[in-house]
């Protein structure tokens, strides 16, 4: 049996060994409920407090600004619906390339709560279009959400500048930073000073476990809980804390921040090799013209080749990649991100995402390009026969 090369780090990441070591005691002997007053409970509470500090440190926030949730989706839902619950219905403005767990809550406000919704256009490089953004701001939105890094293209938005620009509207400004944490520096202090009020980060995208994430939130934002009953997490999120996962999240944050010095450069070098090779095989790279991108993400399409077919073939020879965001992979529709960027349907249907991470090595990239080359020749031959 051969070990497949995992090249889908934006979907989820393998656990860092040190994270597992930190978690295991909380799956074994340290099993207390953090709300219990006895020794078992106090040990659990202490572990959560420590993890909260680690997470806060990693994103430049104060520990009391960190609200633990079960995942990034929940944290995004919590900010958008939770803040909206304490506002009179108005306009919610989100970028047109948000993850469904931002877009759907915003749509929900529109469907049920009488809100209006504006999806801010992006340009061909996947960056917020200035004119449309200014237009949205002119309509006095009450809530704005723009992701820091896109999960498909890896394109970064200058969230601080966007928030600064939106300041006059007095809107609550949120940013989904799930794909940014660990790949680029994040500093909530700076972002908050610029007018960002909420930030979502998640453990399983940075070598931590699934089942833990956080909403980092400015305490001036009045948030109504999505889940009530017991008053955990300052009343913003009830439910017995997932101690092991939270501990894992803390340690994963610590490791990710330590590696920010060198890991992004290493991945960027690998990515550049990958993209050069892809371009030579006739691929177009989405978001390549954006001034700032995540160092680990390559999103491409080879004209005439279907993305689903290609990822299926790649899987069979041991390369795990994605054909769009994991969460919507069941959906045969072309990516809404690419459509928003004005990519034509046929090309969009060819989209394949490679996302690199801790275990990605130069040899894997070389092997990948060789394997792909063979497939492209074969698939193009088939297409030629059909047409």
């Amino acid at each position: 049996m051969f070990a497949p090369a995992y090249l889908d780090y934006n979907a989820t990441t393998p656990l860092e060994p040190a994270v597992l070591d930190a978690m295991l005691p909380y799956l074994r002997q340290q099993y207390g409920n953090a709300s219990s007053r006895h020794e078992y409970g106090r040990a659990a509470r202490k572990a959560i407090d420590e993890a909260r500090q680690q997470v806060a440190h990693a994103v430049g926030a104060h520990p009391t600004e960190v609200v633990f949730t079960s995942g990034g989706s929940e944290a995004n839902n919590l900010f958008i619906k939770g803040a909206a619950a304490n506002l009179k219905p108005g306009l919610v403005a989100i970028s047109s390339i948000e993850h469904p767990c931002v877009r759907e809550p915003a749509k929900e406000l529109k469907r049920r709560q009488g809100w209006a919704m504006h999806e801010i256009a992006v340009d061909a490089a996947g960056r917020i279009e200035a004119a449309d953004y200014a237009d949205a701001l002119a309509h006095s939105p009450k809530l704005i959400s723009v992701m820091r890094a896109n999960n498909e293209t890896g394109v970064l938005q200058d969230v601080a500048a966007l928030a600064e620009q939106a300041r006059f509207t007095r809107a609550w400004f949120h940013s989904d930073a799930v794909q940014a944490l660990g790949k680029i520096p994040l500093d909530f202090r700076t972002l908050n000073a610029a007018g960002v009020h909420g930030l979502t980060v998640s453990a399983h995208k940075i070598g931590g476990p699934k089942g833990a994430a956080a909403l980092v939130v400015d305490k001036r934002v009045e948030i109504a809980p999505l889940i009530s009953g017991g008053g955990h997490e300052r009343g913003l999120r009830s439910g017995t804390e997932n101690v092991a996962a939270i501990v894992g999240f803390g340690v994963a944050c610590q490791i990710a921040v330590q590696r920010l010095d060198s890991e992004p450069q290493r991945l960027r070098a690998l990515r550049d090799v990958l993209e050069q090779g892809l371009v030579q095989q006739g691929a177009c790279i989405f978001g390549a013209d954006a001034p700032q991108r995540l160092p680990n993400t390559v999103y491409f399409s080879i004209p005439g080749i279907d993305g689903e077919t290609l990822v299926g073939k790649l899987d069979r020879v041991g390369f795990a990649v994605a054909s769009g965001a994991a969460c919507s992979s069941a959906n045969p529709e072309p990516s809404h991100v690419l459509l928003a960027m004005g990519v034509e349907g046929e090309i969009a249907r060819g989209a394949v995402r490679i996302s690199l991470g801790a275990a990605s090595m130069p040899q894997q990239v070389k092997d990948f390009l060789v394997a792909l080359d063979g497939m492209v020749v074969q698939l193009k031959g088939l297409t030629a026969l059909v047409t």
Partner: protein, 403 residues
């Protein structure tokens, strides 16, 4: 013997070592996102999730398609109560019914719904902690949309008559939700027989990990809910968010083991509980809280009269127990559950919940009995009230002077 002795299984249970072993591969080598459809990492994870869903369904006599994974019973309760009440409010009405001794994870969503214009009725149980069908019948209205009654109370362990309540609700076309967080593995649950529409489960009360739970959502007849978390459309669109594979696998394994072992395990636990009860009843002026027949074998809740609650807790530090439910024990308010049974503030304050589980031994129980016998004697020696009581003074007739 490891001190403090853990007798707080109703707050949370240790993860069974077999469960932990089963979880670890899904943290290390099989780490895929179950929603990834393009590679084997994703498929392996998805397969594990579906296998776990089957185990969860098997323990409670459900179809796996009726099981929605959530982050825990608190989320399940919120989703069931707010989701169903809001979905059906327009067609059925805005009256909802529950019991005053429910967990906060039911009561708080009820309060939220009240703020949103629903009318709620809170049934007060009898002194034994149980509600009667007649009470419920009397509370029903034409616009009643939802009834929520827990299977097993977290503080006193009593079992509510959910089968009968289900019959009544079904007959009236009212949605019936049951919080079964404290019931799985402790009593048989057969959703094929029970007329229950929505049922909440937790893994960490049944030797699974924290951070995972489930909601049973009946499909025949079909119950619809307004989702509380939106996004990628996971879990039939009722609960979006990446599935935490290792936790789901842990819940599945925990529930599989529960199904296999609950019959023999519960007999052993009942024997231990009865031993504990017998030992503690040798202490004068003790009061068992809650019905002893309609009760899971794991729970014993006792009030020790003429002992101050906080001093008692401090005196028995060798025991990890709860005074009131874990989730509310940060406050010094007497347990609202015991107050609802009509217990005085004093007796509610001096109550201890012992909850026994898989790893409790006879030695643990004997140690606990001996410790309590000794400490309560000591505390009462210092108590003027105890002295008066022993002198035959009826304390209820004493006129205390304010000063």
């Amino acid at each position: 013997m490891k001190l403090p002795i853990y007798l707080d299984y109703s707050a949370t249970t240790p993860v069974d070592p077999r469960v932990a072993e089963k979880m670890i591969p899904y943290l290390t080598t099989m780490f895929g996102n179950p929603a990834s459809r393009s590679h084997a990492f994703g498929w392996d994870a998805e397969k594990a999730v579906e296998e776990a869903r089957q185990h969860v369904a098997d323990l409670v006599g459900a179809d796996p398609k009726d099981i929605i994974f959530t982050s825990g019973a608190t989320e399940s309760n919120n989703l069931a109560i707010k989701g169903a009440a809001n979905f059906y409010a327009g067609t059925k009405g805005k009256h909802i019914i529950t019991v005053s001794t429910e967990h906060k994870a039911v009561l708080d969503p009820f309060r939220e719904l009240e703020r949103d214009g629903f009318e709620a009725t809170y049934l007060d149980p009898l002194p034994n902690g149980l509600i009667t069908l007649d009470q419920l019948k009397a509370a029903l209205r034409p616009d009643t949309v939802l009834v929520s009654v827990m299977a097993v109370n977290n503080e006193i362990g009593v079992i509510q008559p959910i089968a009968e309540i289900g019959e009544l609700c079904r007959e009236k076309g009212i949605i019936f939700h049951v919080d079964a967080a404290q019931a799985t593995g402790k009593m048989p649950i057969d959703l094929e027989q029970l007329k229950v529409d929505l049922m909440s489960f937790s893994a960490h009360k049944t030797y699974g990990p924290k951070g995972i739970g489930a909601l049973y959502v009946r499909r025949k007849p079909r119950i619809r809910l307004e989702a509380q978390m939106h996004g990628g459309g996971h879990e039939r669109g009722l609960r979006s968010g990446t599935l935490a594979t290792h936790q789901i696998v842990g819940m599945g394994e925990a529930f599989r083991i529960a199904k296999q072992e609950m019959a023999t395990e519960n007999e052993r636990i009942r024997m231990l509980r009865d031993r504990l009860l017998k030992g503690l009843q040798t202490i004068e002026e003790t009061y068992v809280n809650g019905d002893m027949d309609q009760r899971v074998p794991h729970n014993l809740n006792i009030s020790f009269n003429f002992v101050e609650g906080e001093s008692l807790i401090m005196a028995i530090k060798d025991l990890a127990v709860s005074s009131g439910s874990a989730c509310t024990s940060a406050s010094l308010e007497p347990s609202y559950v015991l107050r609802a049974l009509g217990r005085s503030d004093e007796l509610a304050h001096s109550s201890i919940r012992f909850s026994i589980g898989r790893f409790t031994t006879e030695e643990d129980v004997d140690y606990a009995i001996k410790l309590l016998q000794g400490k309560i004697d000591k505390l009462r020696e210092l108590s003027p009230l105890w002295e008066m009581f022993k002198d035959g003074i009826d304390l209820s007739t004493v006129q205390w002077a304010a000063h």
